[in-house]
């Protein structure tokens, strides 16, 4: 049984979705349905706390686990305040910490992210921090109570794939207490499959879907790639070799 557990909850899908940049909320809903995703992240700053027809939450299918995120927070203090506001407004206690103080590259600030994680985890939040893939920071996040660690694959929204591959492999090898979820930069199903083959527990995708020609169909493609990548990881991929190795060696009879 290949269970995927975060914060004590068993999840049905290793495909997590972001909800920005879609041309309509109806399309977003189709994408979620077609993806099979269970965890969907929504920026707290975009959630309309008033009731109105455009509230993004009213477009989420039932049984979705809402992962609010602190997008827009520039330091730990702002992230903590946003998370608390979200919980107080009834949006649950799962939160993705995003602390970004660079509008050009949108790189997360690991030091502030660790601070926010520590505070919110102590308050009972299930904290999923978005981070720069750095082993020391990842260890600190686990120690601070993170329920998963979410390194960026490449610059957010860039669709560049796993530019940070080596560093993410280090995290996967060394962090065993919580799942490693590759978040940001995954631009194609093949990138997602690659992350899963490496042993990532899950991937979080947004821009690759929102900017696809047919986002719902692309969501299905990603779902299949993620499932395939996971299966390959479980199966154990064969070793690579610099030389050709025939699957039926010509000299095999000598050893028979």
């Amino acid at each position: 049984m290949d269970e995927f557990i975060i914060g004590g909850r068993t999840l049905s899908s290793r495909f997590l979705l972001g909800t920005g940049k879609f041309k309509s909320k109806q399309e977003l809903r189709e994408v979620i349905c077609r993806s099979g995703a269970e965890v969907v992240t929504v920026a707290l700053r975009r959630i309309d706390l008033e009731k109105n027809e455009d509230n993004i939450l009213s477009y989420l299918p039932e049984n979705i686990l809402l992962l609010t995120n602190t997008s827009g927070a520039r330091n730990a203090d702002e992230a903590v305040r946003l998370a608390r506001l979200g919980r107080a407004a009834g949006h649950g206690n799962w939160v993705k910490i995003e602390v970004i103080n660079d509008s050009k590259y949108l790189l997360p600030d690991n030091a502030e992210t660790i601070k926010a994680t520590e505070i919110l985890a102590a308050e009972g939040f299930v904290v999923l921090p978005y981070m720069n893939p750095d082993l020391y920071a990842a260890r600190a996040l686990v120690k601070a109570g993170a329920a998963a660690v979410m390194p960026l694959g490449s610059l957010i929204g860039s669709n560049q794939g796993l530019r940070m591959k080596t560093l993410i492999e280090v995290l996967i090898a060394e962090i065993s207490d919580v799942p490693i979820i590759v978040d940001a930069g995954i631009g194609r199903p093949s990138h997602a499959a690659e992350a899963m083959e490496m042993g990532a527990a899950a991937v979080l995708v947004n821009t690759a879907l929102a900017t696809a020609g047919d986002p719902p169909r692309m969501a299905e493609a990603f779902a299949k790639a993620i499932a395939a990548g996971r299966l390959a990881w479980l199966a154990g991929t064969g070793e690579t070799s610099p030389l050709a190795r025939a699957s039926s060696p010509l000299t095999g009879f000598l050893h028979g």
């Binding site: 920005g20 940049k21 309509s24 455009d54 929204g157």
Partner: protein
């Protein structure tokens, strides 16, 4: 370096620029447009900008809204669905000083999750007080980066001081203002050196204040009665400017106001725009009709209601975004 690259980009053919600008915009912002509306609180001004309808030398009726009138305007505007608001005054330290703006912000924040201001340039400490009062954003336009033209067009008032205005975005950033909008008023002179200087200004600010969300505005001058007449910036040049801005600054917001006519806005916004004003009134008290028959700072071309703009965006398969930032 930005200058050099800018010059090379301006030399490219328009269709190539447009395709690249649209691609970059979709990549970074998706198919979304944020909507906002201006709210004019007052039209007192101490400056004498030769191109402006609020100039101190013009004999127009001067007004400023009191707290109850501001509340009425906010209620009328909020009822349309608008959530991001830009508060505007003329530039008058006498009639709309910091205290007036702080009191206005206290009223306005009951109605809107996010408040930006376009008022006289102030000191860092004053901006800090406005941030405390709930102000998230600031728009301040240099108008022109040509010091000679600037001196000629701003004969009186504190706005004569080019350098003080130039350093205003930095003071606001130091005070913790989250969103800062820069711009040049196109048509005061040759647009190209102004736009290149604006890009240089933004480039320097981005390096110094990486946490700020900067955006650009390119208001095209329209003729105002009794004012200097503009050097016309053609539609093609306007498109060129928007596209080059997007290519040079992939993550920066670009605003497009109702100064521009509807047909132009509808065709141009997918090329790089991220924020559009809608259902705008540019007179003091223009929403709740609390004051009538007053002079506008400039005339608007796109007179469609917010609902009409929203429908237009949906028809073009864009998501109109009303809440993209919320004061905490």
């Amino acid at each position: 370096m930005v200058r050099l690259r800018t010059a090379e980009l301006f030399a490219l053919d328009l269709e190539t620029l447009a395709r690249e600008a649209q691609r970059i915009t979709r990549q970074n912002f998706g198919r979304t447009i944020s909507l906002y509306a201006p709210l004019y609180l007052a039209n007192y001004c101490e400056n004498q900008c030769l191109y402006c309808g609020f100039s101190a030398r013009l004999r127009i009726q001067r007004e400023k809204l009191g707290p109850e009138q501001i509340a009425a305007e906010c209620a009328a505007l909020a009822a349309t669905g608008i959530q991001n608001i830009l508060l505007l005054t003329g530039e008058s330290h006498k009639h709309t000083p910091l205290g007036y703006l702080l009191a206005a912000a206290e009223v306005v924040k009951k109605y809107f999750p996010s408040i930006s201001i376009e008022v006289q340039p102030m000191e860092t400490e004053e901006y800090r007080a406005l941030v405390e009062a709930g102000v998230d954003g600031l728009a301040v336009y240099q108008e022109t980066y040509d010091r000679e033209i600037y001196a000629r067009l701003h004969p009186a008032g504190r706005k004569r001081n080019f350098q003080y205005r130039f350093e205003t975005p930095a003071r606001a950033a130091q005070a913790g203002i989250r969103q800062i909008s820069l711009g040049a008023l196109l048509g005061l002179g040759d647009w190209r050196p102004d736009v290149e200087a604006l890009f240089g200004h933004l480039n320097a600010l981005e390096s110094e204040y990486p946490g700020v969300d900067f955006s650009l505005s390119f208001p095209r001058m329209l003729p105002v009665e009794g004012a200097v007449q503009p050097c016309i910036v053609s539609d093609a040049d306007m498109v060129r400017i928007l596209c080059v801005a997007r290519i040079l600054f992939p993550r920066v917001g670009i605003n497009l106001s109702t100064r521009e006519p509807a047909r132009f806005r509808d065709h141009v916004f997918p090329l790089g725009v991220t924020r559009m004003s809608a259902g705008s009134a540019t007179t003091v008290g223009g929403y709740a009709q609390s004051l009538q028959g007053h002079d506008a700072q400039f005339s608007i071309s796109d007179e469609r209601s917010l609902a009409e703009i929203k429908t237009m965006l949906l028809n073009k398969e864009y998501d109109p975004v009303f809440t993209d930032w919320r004061r905490m």
